[in-house]
């Protein structure tokens, strides 16, 4: 009798736990309602995520997702207990990329980031007005290659990356166990 009672207790608590987990998932998914400019859905594979970290040079305030510890897979069937992130879908903050907003949605399954989607992305390409055709001068082309001389500073479109990292960071903060 004692054994039976114990088994029932275990089963009931497991069901309760599953429901609880499911509720969490639903809460995450509830945020999925269209968020403004949703026409730019771009996915990245998890393996490329660390590359978007800025080089750890001048700005200490930049969050560095490279340093985020990898979630450890758990051996027990207990779902996600030992992993860093809870399963679910998490929406990052809208971040100012100056030319527009960046907002990411992170999906966590099995304790790992399974996909990152862009809910908002600066889309200066969406203008539909056709441009006049220019007299077509023949311009030179070349394959790009690295040049390694010392430089005083660097020109590049850093904005979106910083905004991406910031939004990503806030999404992952919500996914933390």
């Amino acid at each position: 009798m004692k054994k039976l009672l114990l088994s029932v207790l275990v089963i009931v608590s497991f069901i309760l736990y599953s429901l609880f987990q499911r509720k969490d998932d639903l809460v995450g998914s509830a945020n999925l309602a269209p968020q403004g400019n949703t026409n730019n859905t771009i996915s990245i594979s998890p393996s490329t995520t660390p590359q978007t970290s800025p080089s750890p040079t001048t700005i200490s305030t930049t969050p560095d997702i490279k340093n985020t510890p990898k979630p450890t897979p758990t051996a027990t069937p207990t779902p996600t207990k030992a992993s860093l992130y809870k399963n679910g879908t998490y929406i990052g903050d809208v971040t100012d990329a100056y030319y527009g907003n960046v907002q990411v949605q992170v999906q966590v399954s099995g304790g790992n980031i399974s996909s990152v989607n862009f809910l908002q992305y600066p889309s200066d390409r969406s203008r539909s007005i056709s441009i006049n055709s220019y007299a077509m001068p023949i311009l030179e082309q070349e394959a790009i290659k690295a040049q390694s001389a010392n430089v005083d500073t660097v020109s590049g479109a850093t904005d979106t990356s910083l905004a991406f990292i910031s939004s990503m960071q806030s999404a992952l903060a919500k996914a933390q166990n």
Binding site: I44, L139, E140, Q141, A146, T153, S155, A157, T158
Partner: protein
């Protein structure tokens, strides 16, 4: 004297080589960017631009800077055949023209303070003046859109502006799951060098939006040179571009 601060959602660096530079001079420039942020940021509830968008400020009450920005935005819209437009969903967002303009104005502050060797860099758009600490032209890298830690071109500039429009997110093997076969000619980066950063920036933005036609647009404008990189890592550059390239 050099300092970087994270403002307006991007790193802003002020580097003055002239020996008389003080912390006050540096602070003055950052205070100016703060003023710009408070006035033009669509992320600040009480910025002038948001008050205008809420209809709380009438047209005859616009500040002089706001009027100037609107004029410059209208001019750029005409010159870019409509590719540059600050009207989005019934609201005004002049960010695309404010950035280059603000860097240009910040550089003017330093000139007024008597400096002749410096640069102001806001999120990779840069105004250089005079020479660097070695008395040589400023040496600037153009970041590899496929690898943030690498430069794919080095240019030497005196009294010029440079701006890069593009996205490194696409460059880092991010694909559109719904269109995996997406055009191979997609543009990932377009750098423009001009007489000042305002001119470079205001044309880099619409040129990038034009796709591969963008470099032809830059070629068509006197005083501008450009370097465009497509998703295959092939660059197309304007006829006068090589005058700026540092050969190692």
């Amino acid at each position: 004297m050099k300092e970087t601060r994270l403002m307006l959602g991007m790193p802003i660096t002020v580097n003055i080589v002239d020996s008389q530079a003080t912390q006050e001079n540096i602070d003055e420039v950052f205070a100016y960017f703060k003023y710009i942020d408070n006035k033009f940021s669509v992320f600040k509830k009480d910025s002038e631009i948001n008050q205008i968008n809420r209809g709380e400020i009438m047209e005859n009450e616009y500040s002089d800077d706001m009027e100037e920005i609107f004029l410059l935005a209208e001019k750029t819209k005409k010159e870019s055949h409509g590719y540059f437009d600050i009207h989005h969903k019934g609201k005004l967002n002049p960010s695309g023209v404010v950035k280059g303009w603000a860097i240009h104005q910040a550089a003017k502050i330093l000139e007024k303070d008597g400096f002749s060797n410096f640069y102001v860099d806001a999120g990779g758009d840069i105004q250089v003046k005079g020479n660097n600490h070695l008395g040589k032209p400023w040496t600037l890298g153009i970041r590899n859109p496929f690898n943030r830690n690498e430069n794919i071109k080095i240019v030497k500039l005196i009294n010029k502006g440079i701006a890069t429009s593009g996205t490194y997110i696409r460059g880092q093997h991010i694909y559109n799951p719904f269109k995996p076969q997406d055009p191979i000619m997609e543009i990932v980066s377009l750098t423009v060098i001009g007489p000042n950063v305002f001119e470079a920036d205001r044309f880099a933005t619409p040129a990038f939006a034009m796709g591969k036609e963008g470099i032809l647009f830059i070629e068509s404008i006197q005083g501008l040179e450009g370097y465009m990189i497509d998703s295959n890592g092939v660059a197309t550059f304007t006829k006068g571009w090589n005058q700026y390239v540092y050969k190692d």
